[in-house]
């Protein structure tokens, strides 16, 4: 049998399985061999689940033989290591959960297994999803497949790098302030954050519950839409998953961007590097040539405060969510102390890395007596202002376009100041604050030949328009077909 291309798209792989060009077992083995060949350099995976993958592939082959195959049957997928997986250790890339083996699956995992997907393993991330470079993993940093000396972005850096390196056909990540879209941009793949409430968070280890959403990475927009279609929808086990119908995300794509009005708000371009601005502008020109109306009159003045609001809200929620790690019920436990309190403090002091501790303490500060109104309550009011301004733009426009990140992927170790690291997410954070869906698609190469991402934002629940425009752009521009050489 000829070697199976590691860069097959999901659509091509599903076609190959249906046509009998290869079996799910052969496809899984080819992907596992690819991981064995390149992951020593990329380090996208914390855990590779070879045996489970081959067993799932065998079941997929039975389904295919029965003629009982869906779009994800037999498709190899990588899962960010904060989505709990029954019987497979789920670490959050933290010492705190290094040996944690969940006793059940997250809802997205249940849906993927029922759809016949083949999990290859669990991917590296910034510890507890706090970071923008995957350098805050407690285990090891992941490299950017386009330049191994650079970061893949974060926090879902492993899931992005896996897709970019051909170590997985699609993957799932999570996005609290840009953690899917920014690594998608840095690694030259499609990364998509759904509307808050579109995908169940049951079994997603919580960082900031009012902002967290699970979403797909893929080699093209169609594959991302196919994966989202499989995991989206109301889940009684997550009270914030919305009881709204899930439409066919690929409906109406033949209309392209014709008739769409796309806002270009100058506030969401401020501070971007010249190479990023150039690639983004070229993409906006392309959207206009394809028939979209570009509206440069729209303004989002309050997004200037989004980063500050986020670094009050997200740490506040994190400080409450991470209070559960006490060394008693699960996770790392220090037992040598003189008292229960000392054990708890040492468990948390030793089990968490510095970025996690920083954010827990920031949250404790913002929520403490005397500061609550000035920081937490005020950030929630600014959140209302930001939501209103987005709503006003979406009264007049269908989409908003911005760069995904202000720079291309930077060198490992280059950003050491915590606040400078936070600025990576300056264009993506407002979207989480407002609960909107957004996508990053490759739109060119910048400094050092590194990928640049185009960021499209849609109104609540309008993923279909988001995908439709992103697909039209992607197919006409063709940047998504480029891969790094490893």
């Amino acid at each position: 049998m000829p070697a199976i291309d590691p860069y097959l798209t999901l659509t091509e792989a599903a076609q190959g399985l249906r046509d009998g060009a290869f079996t799910a077992a052969e496809l899984a083995r080819a992907q596992l061999d690819r991981i064995a060949a390149v992951d020593g350099r990329v380090r996208a995976y914390v855990t590779v689940t070879r045996d489970e993958a081959l067993a799932a592939a065998a079941r997929a082959d039975e389904a295919l033989a029965r003629g009982d195959a869906g779009p994800l049957t037999g498709i190899p997928i990588a899962i960010k290591d904060l989505i709990v997986t029954r019987g497979v250790r789920t670490t959050c890339s933290s010492r705190m959960l290094e040996n944690f083996v969940p006793v059940e699956d997250a809802t997205v995992m249940t849906r993927l297994r029922e759809a016949g997907a083949v999990m290859l393993g669990k991917t590296n991330m910034d510890e507890f999803a706090m970071g923008s470079s995957t350098e805050h993993s407690a285990f090891f940093p992941t490299a950017n497949p386009w330049d191994l000396a650079r970061v893949p972005g974060g926090s879902s850096g492993g899931s992005a790098a896996a897709v970019a390196a051909g170590e997985g056909i699609v993957s799932l990540g999570s996005d609290t302030g840009g953690s899917i879209r920014q690594p998608g941009a840095f690694c030259g793949c499609v990364g998509m954050k759904p509307t808050y409430g579109r995908v169940s968070r049951y079994g997603l280890i919580a960082f900031a519950s009012s902002l967290d959403q699970i979403g797909p990475f893929a080699r093209n927009v169609r594959d991302a839409a196919t994966l989202l279609q499989a995991v989206a929808g109301r889940d009684p086990r997550d009270s914030t998953s919305a009881d709204v119908p899930v439409p066919d995300f690929s409906a109406g794509w033949d209309r392209g961007v014709e008739g769409l009005r796309i806002a270009v708000p100058r506030e969401l371009f401020a501070g971007a590097d010249a190479d990023v601005l150039e690639a983004t502008q070229a993409a906006i020109d392309q959207l206009e040539r394809l028939g979209a109306t570009i509206d440069r009159e729209q303004s989002l003045p309050s997004v200037a405060h989004a980063l500050a609001a986020y670094y009050v809200l997200a740490p506040s929620e994190a400080s409450a969510n991470l209070a559960r790690y006490d060394g008693v019920t699960y996770g790392y436990s220090y037992t040598e102390g003189a008292s229960m309190w000392e054990n708890m403090e040492q468990t948390r002091g030793r089990g968490f890395g510095d970025e996690v501790k920083r954010r827990i303490m920031l949250g404790a500060y913002a929520l403490s007596a005397g500061y609550y109104d000035a920081y937490y309550k005020q950030a929630q009011r600014v959140r209302t202002l930001i939501r209103r301004e987005f709503a006003r733009v979406f009264d007049r426009c269908d989409l908003i376009v911005t760069p995904t990140a202000p720079t291309v992927a930077f060198k490992q170790g280059a950003v050491t100041d915590p606040y400078q690291m936070y600025l990576n997410d300056v264009f993506t954070i407002p979207v989480n604050i407002a609960g909107l869906p957004a996508i990053s698609v490759p739109c060119g190469l910048g400094e050092g030949g590194m990928p640049v991402g185009l960021h499209l934002i849609a109104d609540h629940w309008d993923e279909a328009t988001l995908f439709r425009a992103a697909h039209a752009y992607e197919q006409s521009a063709g940047w998504h077909t480029r891969h790094p050489s490893l």
């Binding site: 006793v103 409430g197 914030t240 019920t329 699960y330 403090e345 501790k357 939501r387 915590p418 606040y419």
Partner: protein, 104 residues
């Protein structure tokens, strides 16, 4: 890379940082407390721009989905068996989590 029009770092004393670490139950050395003091002061200084935003009459948004009082159907269902609940317990005694005495 964007730069931020930095506000001056907020005042944060080592005692305040120690208090935060206690509130958060994070065991830290004095050197760690000092490192975090500088970093937290810088981040809080950046967040102080929020104080200058006019939010008079603006209601806070406190969740991501505009949902209020979501209730589950009041239907009994089986809970996890003790074996499952205790599967990751660092220390157990029969069907119980084992901990140090809270009051000694």
């Amino acid at each position: 890379m964007p730069t931020n029009d930095a506000d001056p770092p907020a005042e944060l004393t080592i005692e305040e940082v120690r208090h935060l670490a206690t509130l958060a139950r994070l065991g830290m050395t004095d050197a760690e407390l000092e490192k975090f003091r500088g970093e937290l002061a810088s981040i809080i200084g950046h967040c102080d721009v929020l104080q200058r935003v006019d939010t008079a009459g603006v209601e806070p948004t406190n969740n991501g989905a505009d949902l209020l009082n979501v209730v589950a159907a009041d239907e009994p269902r089986p809970s996890w068996p003790p074996r499952q609940v205790l599967a990751n317990a660092p220390s157990r005694s029969d069907d119980l989590f084992r901990v140090r005495a809270v009051l000694e």
